[in-house]
Structure formats: structure tokens, C-alpha cells
């Protein structure tokens, strides 16, 4: 079931579109679910489909098309590391290696305590700060060095508000 908050959010979103184009709100609806639960389960997609009135498969198509929707639990803090060209040239491989060693996980995995998840991402459009990652798709952290990463991770572990809403 979609929470009251999500339903209210979807309702607000639906007002932006004509009554016969309700499926326009699907991307926002998926985002609301992800913000609340951290990821989007197939049941949530089915709920969104029923709420908006569109085929379940169509919701699934959208959810799987966009990389920023998480289709499995990716930890409390999902770190999405850009691996596109500018970041590659600026040493993102060392950044990744550092993260993997520090967290003890590979790409697409989460730490045993469920705190951190690591995934690969596409260009975030801020190449001036390469190499970089985002925290939960919300907060951008650039010009990453070993120390800076350690500092961010320590902050998040301590319950910092890194990327939380």
C-alpha cells in the first residue's frame, strides 16, 4: 500500500497534468516511493499502477529505464560513483578502489550493517568537480580524495544528514 504521504504527493503531482494523462505522474510517483522506502519493490510499482490507472508493465518499463531508480535495497546511504569520461580522467578508479576497500563491498552491493551501498552512475553534469559521487541521488560530493571520502563516510556513520531528506 502506498502511504498517505505518498498518495498526497502523487495527488499534488497529478494536478500538473490533464485528467486523461495521469501516467505523466509516474516518474514522480516512483521517486516518492524511493524517497520514503529507499528503493522500489515490484509491489510498489503495482500499487502505483493501480493508483494512477496504468498498466503495471508500463510502470516497470519506466522504473527500469532510469538508472536512478533503485530496484533493490541499496543501503541507508547509496553512494553513486560517476564512472564516465571526465571522472575516469580525474582518477575515479582510485576513488572507487578506496571506497571498495573502505566499505568492503563491490559495486551493486551493500555493507553488512545496511548502512552503505555502492553503485556506478552516469555523468552528473558537474565535471569540473570530478571525480565525484552522489549520496542517495540528492547530495553531490566532488573533488574526492582519500581523506575527503573518509571524512564523508565518518560523518554519515555518525548519523550525519548526508543525503537524507
Amino acid at each position: 500500500m502506498l502511504s498517505d504521504q505518498i498518495q498526497a504527493n502523487i495527488e499534488r503531482e497529478l494536478k500538473k497534468y490533464p485528467a486523461d494523462q495521469r501516467q505523466s505522474a509516474v516518474m514522480a510517483a516512483l521517486r516518492f516511493v524511493q524517497d520514503e522506502k529507499g528503493w522500489i519493490a515490484p509491489e510498489d510499482m503495482a500499487d502505483i499502477a493501480a493508483y494512477i490507472g496504468m498498466p503495471q508493465m508500463a510502470v516497470f518499463e519506466v522504473a527500469t529505464f532510469y538508472h536512478m531508480y533503485k530496484l533493490k535495497p541499496m543501503g541507508e546511504y547509496t553512494l553513486t560513483v560517476c564512472t564516465n569520461l571526465s571522472c575516469q580522467l580525474s582518477g575515479v578508479n582510485e576513488t572507487l578502489l578506496h571506497l571498495k576497500n573502505k566499505l568492503g563491498i563491490g559495486l551493486g552491493e551493500i555493507t553488512a550493517d545496511g548502512k552503505f551501498g555502492l553503485r556506478e552512475g552516469e555523468c552528473m553534469g558537474a565535471c569540473v568537480d570530478a571525480p565525484m559521487f552522489t549520496i542517495n541521488n540528492k547530495k553531490l560530493c566532488g573533488r574526492l580524495t582519500g581523506e575527503k571520502i573518509d571524512q564523508i563516510l565518518a560523518e554519515l556513520s555518525a548519523g550525519g544528514q548526508g543525503g537524507k531528506q
Binding site: P42, M45, A46, P55, Q56, M57, A58, F60, E61, T64, F65, Y66, H67
Partner: protein, 770 residues
């Protein structure tokens, strides 16, 4: 009209058409994969790239509208280069498994590759693999690596079948065609995706690895499983039917085929086939020679006719028997001296019989349904009973037609329904007369007194355009069918529309033309069973599955002295019959079906009859000879047909007109009422034995569906077993909730072994906790 030029050929075409449509119309072929004339434009395969004068790049012909003076080149250097390039890209990830691919020999990709591709690939890296999927018992998605992502199957589902069960998930190189959370494809039209798939990604599961396409011979035939008269290609090898495909017929089935027509053939060679005549002697069944069985049957009939009287003999046939079979059956009965012959086995109200002169039919050509502006569909499980007609109405609704429904269940028709009135079966007549009343008020400027729902339907029907009132199977089987017919007639007259019956089976019209109905002295199907006869001749009938009241039918069969069952299968008749005569199903005999639009279509047998089975018309002819009845010397089924239709102007015979009938009669029913559908894969003997169809969701064991309030009243949980009883019989089935049902009704399917112990398809029924 605008003028364009394709490959130097001047073409005049309508404004708004695309280049590919204009080219095809002019007989110029443009290679394509994703384009399909019945589907929306996707333009994602890029195979149809052509050069257009003044355009800097090649353009996709399927998505480029024609403009005045346009010059198109389909084989210029630029076009050929583009086609070659696209072909090479399409083959990058396509496996080279043609030798073991079911599509081999009838594959668009193979053909296009030969026609437009290069001889060798420059790609040497690893190809991508896409995991196989299990999407149900009919369509195989075993080799999805072959998929070229044209999305034809997706668009077919969303646009024609009305439900988007397949979709393209993920993106770019990871894109794959799949269902939501490994679900199955449950559409009753799903098999068309196999035809649409231009490669071997979606193939027929039952046909898988059975034969190569070029080994098959192809025979034209006509569908025996619904009343549409769909054109079929029956493909055979070594005297076995291995596959059934549609033949394009824009006026009937367009280019589609329902799963029922496509996969029913799997029931033809079921282990239950009766292949030798059998006689019951001292309670034991024995296989005998034809001569012995026929003489036994003829002597039995003669004995009863001479003793108890010919009126003690009754003949029942299913409405999917051929015109020839029905004609000879009634001729045989009348030759013996009995007028008791009927083919309307699920009908319960015969009071229209002496009030209508003509043969009930659709009331219009099937093709006209596409042009309707407003339609009222009364008592029809439309999607399941008439899948392709439902698809046609769905397209009409998409173009702006209004669909109005009056029914006792509210199944999802997968189309926009403008108005609907869902009432218990005993309120159906009242609901219809409310609409008539509202229309009358609307037309004559009187004050509206009818219910709001009826007024809304009346408003929709009085739109002034093309209007039709269609009566479905449920309305025809209804105990007040004649009243419904009279009201439909009234409504059609008030809205200047047409009205008609969506025939239940392949020969629902043909049965009337063959006179397989009782005359004034005879008994109809219901009375023949209600007042048991001493002898019955059954043609294709499974008494407990094909009749309106199985309890009564079985009791009548069991009390009879002689039951001659002509059947393609060894079925429950072994418990009540005395003679079993093996007859040929429609693929093994020539014959004629008259479709619901009155189209007389003859077909030839596709294969020889199995074992010693013989075409029923031949069996009936020999029976006629043995009984020394004159006029049984036809050599061919064509001769029988010509005799049956001699001097008959079919078009003139078709008429739904019914003379005045009292429509005020109300039948007060107490307690719960039964609503019964005949599930889509339980309609006839062949379909019931098709293993793949029986494995579908639609063939699930019947449940007792009630409104959840009714369930609460009974104190029954969803899923719990309940005892459902009618008359002497009861069955234990699972309870299920459907809050779209009206209160006071239980929906229990008929035509299924699990509910065959119950009584009439309509009327009171009790449900208790088991």
C-alpha cells in the same frame, strides 16, 4: 489526394498516409520489421530507411508522411547503404541459430538478411544473451536473445488485445522484452504475438520443434469454435494437424486469430479420441465393426419407433456441427417420423420459436461493427465468448464509439465502457425495458421516469449515428430470452439502429437453415430432456457439459432405453450410451458453417479421419439407408449442402424480427441466483481436450464467485470450500469474491466437469459452508 513518386513511379495517394503505406499500395516493397499496418508506428527498427529527395539523411518510410511532389528512392545508393547498415546492426546481437530455430523458413529477419544484408558480419565480439522467460503455456519466449526489440508484441498487447502484458524493460543494450514480475501472458489473443514476432523470439509452445515450416501442407478451413467464421490455415504433416494460423480476411478476422482457434487443434489427437465403433453389451463396452454398430443403431431406432412411437425418439446436436450433419440429422429424424430435433442445447426459453419467422443472426455484417457510433451489448461475456468481436468493438471504441453494457457480471472488457447497468439475471428484462422507456421519453419529449443509468444508455443510443443492440450468449440462454429479444428490437427501432444476436457457436445460424429445429409437433432441446424420451441420438453432444441443465440431461440419458452417441471422443457417454459411433471433428471432414453474419463458408477436410472415425454426414447417410428412408444417397458433402440450401436465399432468411410479446412478466426469484458463463476453453469437445489451452489461467477450475458482503453473510472466507447445490446435485468448489457482481447472485461456470453435477444455468442456487 496528393501526388508522389516512388522509384520513378508516379503514385496518387491520400493525404496523411505514410511513405510505406503508399509504397505497399503501389506494390513497391520496402523492408521493415517493426512496422505493422494494424499497429501504431514505432519506427525503432530503422529497416525501412529510404532516400527522400531534398532530405539530408535517409528517412524511415513507416513514420514519414507523404507530401505533395515527394520523390522517394527505395533502392538508391543512399537507401541501400542505410538498409545494409541497419541489417548489420540488427544482426550484431542476433544468434546464428537458424538451423534449430522454429522461425527458420518463415523468418522476416532471415528473408531481409538475404535480401538486404551483407554476406558476412564484421562483428567478432561477444553477443549479448537475454534470459529465457516462461510466459505461459501458449507462447514460448525461450530464446529471447533472438529478439530485435521491434516491440510489435508490446504494441499488440496494448492496442489490440487491450492489456499491456508485455513491455520493454531496461535500456539500451540491456533492453529486453518481458512481462511484469515474470507474469504470464493471459490475453485470449496472445497467440497473435507469435505471428507478429518477425524473428524466432516468440514462438508457439505447442508447435515447438514439431516440424519445419516448409514440410507442412496448408489447407483452408473455417473456425469451428466460435460464430465468427474465422478463416483458418490448417497446417498438416503426415496426416496430423500440427498448426493453425489465421488467413487474412479483413471482413471477418482481419489478420488475427483467437487463442481458442489457434490452439484447439491440440485436442484433435487426444488420447480420448474414439477411433472404433463401440457397443455396450451386458454392461461392457466392446469394439465392433461399423456395419455391426450401424445395424445395431438402426434396429434400435426402428424398434422404438415401431413400439413406443417415433415421438419417443429425440435428436440433439451441438451448434458447432456442420450444416450437412445438422441437415441429415433432422432429415433422418423426420424420416423416422419424429419432429424432435434441436441444436440449441444451452437455450432455456423457446417461446420465440413461433413468433419469429427468420433465422436469428448478428443483424449486420461483422465489418460494420467497426463503424458503430454507439452499441448496447446485452448479456455477453464478450471478451471470452467472442474474442475477436471484442477486439473489433475495442477498436471502434478507440475511434470514439460508445460501448454500453447491460449484464449480470462486470468483467473487465479492456475498453472504455460509456455506461453500464449490472443487475441480477431476473432484473435483466426490467433493466432493458427501462432503457426502452427512456428512449421513448427521449424521442417523444416526455418526462424521464427511467433510472439514471437507463437514461444515460438511452442518450448514448440516440446519438443519431450507427447504432446497434447486440444480444450475447448469456441473453440467448436467459430464461426470458424472448422478452430480451423483443425489448432489443424495440430499443433498436427507437434508436434507428440494428439489433442482433452474437451467435454462440460456429453454426448457430446454420442450424436454423438446416431445419435442425423442432417443427410445430416436435419438442425442443429443453422439453426433450425435461420429458425424457425412450431414445436419443446425440451428435457431438456431451450431455453434462453442452446442455442448459446437466442434471436433467444426464437423468434423461440414463433413463432412456437407447442412446446413440455420435462423437469424436470417448467421453462420459460411456456411462449412459448404448452405441458410440466415432465421427470426425471439423479438420477431418468437409462441411459448411454459416457464421453469425450469415456467411456460408464450406471447407474441406485437412487430414484423413483418425482411426476408423468417419465424417458424421456419411454416418447419418448410412443410417438413413439402413432405415430405408429415401433421399439419403448423396455422394459428397457438397451435394448435402446444396440440397439443404436448395432454393434458400440465405440473406432473405436472416431476420431477428419477433412479433409482439408480453414483456411485463416478472419472475420473482428468492434466495441466491445463479449466473453462469461457459468458460472460454470449455465451449466444445475439441477445445476441452486441448492440453495447452487447459493449462491457461482462463481454464482454471470454476469457483463460486460472490459479492464479499454475500460471503460475509454466509460466514465464508475467500478461498474456503463451499457446497453449491441445485436440485439433487451439489459440488464443492472454492469461494471467491467479486465485488463487481450484483448482490444476490453466485457466479458458477457451466460446461465444466467440476460443476456438471449442478442444474440449470439460471435460477436459484444455494451456497453453504462445506
Amino acid at each position: 489526394m496528393i501526388n508522389i513518386e516512388i522509384d520513378g513511379k508516379r503514385i496518387e495517394t491520400e493525404n496523411g498516409t505514410t511513405v510505406i503505406e503508399a509504397a505497399h499500395k503501389a506494390g513497391i516493397s520496402i523492408p521493415h520489421f517493426c512496422y505493422h499496418k494494424k499497429l501504431s508506428i514505432a519506427a525503432n527498427c530503422r529497416m525501412c530507411l529510404v532516400q527522400v529527395e531534398k532530405a539530408p539523411k535517409p528517412l524511415p518510410a513507416c513514420a514519414t508522411p507523404v507530401t505533395e511532389g515527394m520523390k522517394v528512392f527505395t533502392a538508391s545508393e543512399q537507401a541501400v547503404k542505410a538498409q545494409k547498415g541497419v541489417m548489420e546492426f540488427l544482426l550484431v546481437n542476433h544468434p546464428l541459430d537458424c538451423p534449430i530455430c522454429d522461425q527458420g523458413g518463415e523468418c522476416m529477419l532471415q528473408d531481409m538478411s538475404v535480401g538486404y544484408g551483407g554476406g558476412a558480419s564484421r562483428y567478432h565480439e561477444e553477443k549479448r544473451t537475454v534470459l529465457s522467460k516462461d510466459i505461459g503455456p501458449l507462447v514460448s519466449a525461450e530464446e529471447m536473445s533472438r529478439c530485435i526489440n521491434c516491440t510489435r508484441c508490446v504494441r499488440f498487447g496494448a492496442e489490440i488485445a487491450g492489456q499491456m502484458e508485455m513491455g520493454q524493460a531496461f535500456r539500451g543494450e540491456h533492453a529486453e522484452i518481458m512481462t511484469f514480475v515474470s507474469g504470464t501472458v493471459n490475453s485470449e489473443l496472445s497467440g497473435n504475438m507469435i505471428d507478429l514476432c518477425p524473428v524466432g523470439a516468440l514462438t508457439s509452445k505447442p508447435f515447438r520443434y514439431k516440424a519445419r515450416s516448409w514440410e507442412l501442407s496448408r489447407r483452408r478451413s473455417i473456425s469451428a469454435h466460435d460464430s465468427l467464421g474465422t478463416s483458418l490455415a490448417v497446417q498438416t504433416k503426415n496426416n496430423h494437424v500440427l498448426r493453425v494460423l489465421p488467413i487474412e480476411n479483413e471482413d471477418i478476422n482481419e489478420c488475427w486469430l483467437s487463442d481458442k482457434d489457434r490452439f484447439a487443434y491440440e485436442g484433435l489427437n487426444s488420447a480420448e479420441r474414439l477411433t472404433k465403433p463401440m457397443i455396450k453389451q451386458d454392461g461392457k463396452w466392446q469394439e465392433v465393426e461399423w456395419q455391426v454398430a450401424l445395424e445395431y443403431a438402426a434396429n434400435g431406432l426402428r424398434h422404438i419407433a415401431n413400439g413406443a412411437g417415433a415421438e419417443q425418439i429425440g435428436a440433439l446436436a451441438t451448434a458447432n456441427s456442420t450444416l450437412e450433419e445438422l441437415y441429415l440429422l433432422q432429415k433422418l429424424m423426420r424420416g423416422i417420423g419424429s419432429d424432435n430435433v434441436d441444436f440449441r442445447l444451452r437455450q432455456s426459453d423457446f417461446s420465440a420459436d413461433d413468433k419469429q419467422q427468420g433465422t436469428p443472426w448478428l443483424g449486420m455484417p461483422i465489418a460494420d461493427i467497426s463503424r458503430l457510433d454507439s452499441v448496447l451489448i446485452v448479456g455477453s461475456f464478450l471478451r471470452k465468448d467472442h474474442p475477436l468481436l471484442a477486439a473489433r468493438i475495442r477498436q471502434a471504441v478507440k475511434k470514439g464509439a460508445q460501448a454500453n453494457i447491460i449484464h449480470s457480471v462486470d468483467d473487465d472488457l479492456l475498453m472504455k465502457v460509456a455506461n453500464k447497468t449490472i443487475v441480477a439475471p431476473d432484473a435483466l428484462v426490467a433493466a432493458l425495458s427501462q432503457v426502452a422507456q427512456a428512449l421513448d421519453a427521449e424521442k417523444n419529449g416526455k418526462a424521464q421516469t427511467a433510472s439514471a443509468g437507463a437514461v444515460a444508455i438511452a442518450k448514448s443510443l440516440s446519438c443519431g449515428g450507427c447504432v446497434a443492440v447486440l444480444l450475447g450468449n448469456f441473453a440467448q440462454q436467459h430464461p426470458q430470452a424472448a422478452q430480451l429479444q423483443a425489448l432489443a428490437q424495440q430499443i433498436a427501432a427507437l434508436s434507428n439502429g440494428k439489433f442482433g444476436f452474437i451467435g454462440e457457436a460456429a453454426n448457430s445460424v446454420g442450424g436454423y437453415l438446416a431445419h435442425a429445429t423442432p417443427g410445430t409437433k416436435g419438442l425442443n432441446a429443453a422439453s426433450m430432456l425435461a420429458t425424457p424420451r425412450k431414445a436419443y441420438v446425440l451428435l457431438n453432444v456431451e450431455a453434462e457439459l453442452d446442455t442448459a441443465n446437466p442434471q436433467q440431461a444426464i437423468a434423461a440419458m440414463q433413463s432412456a432405453d437407447l442412446v446413440i452417441a455420435m462423437s469424436a471422443y470417448k467421453h462420459h457417454a460411456t456411462s449412459y450410451a448404448d452405441v458410440l459411433l466415432p465421427i470426425a471433428p471439423f479438420t477431418e471432414t468437409s462441411g459448411t458453417f454459416v457464421s453469425t453474419e450469415g456467411r456460408v463458408q464450406s471447407f474441406k477436410g485437412a487430414v484423413k479421419p483418425l482411426g476408423e472415425a468417419r465424417p458424421a454426414w456419411k454416418v447419418l447417410r448410412v443410417l438413413g439407408n439402413l432405415l430405408k428412408i429415401s433421399g439419403f444417397d448423396q455422394d459428397t458433402s457438397e451435394a448435402v449442402r446444396d440440397e439443404a440450401l436448395k432454393g434458400v436465399d440465405v440473406a432473405a432468411k436472416l431476420s431477428n424480427t419477433i412479433s409482439a410479446i408480453d414483456t411485463n412478466a416478472v419472475s420473482a426469484a428468492g434466495g441466491l441466483q445463479r449466473v453462469s458463463d461457459v468458460p472460454i476453453y470449455a465451449t466444445d469437445a475439441v477445445v476441452r481436450r486441448s492440453a495447452p489451452l487447459q493449462a491457461t489461467v482462463d481454464a482454471a477450475t470454476p469457483q463460486a464467485w460472490l459479492h464479499s458482503e454475500e460471503l460475509k453473510k454466509l460466514g465464508v472466507q475467500v478461498g474456503a470450500t463451499v457446497k453449491v447445490s441445485q436440485g439433487q446435485g451439489s459440488v464443492s468448489i472454492a469461494a471467491a469474491a467479486d465485488d463487481k457482481l450484483p448482490r444476490g447472485v453466485v457466479r458458477v461456470a457451466a460446461g465444466h466437469a467440476a460443476t456438471a453435477a449442478l442444474g440449470a444455468m439460471f435460477g436459484t442456487i444455494t451456497v453453504e459452508r462445506a
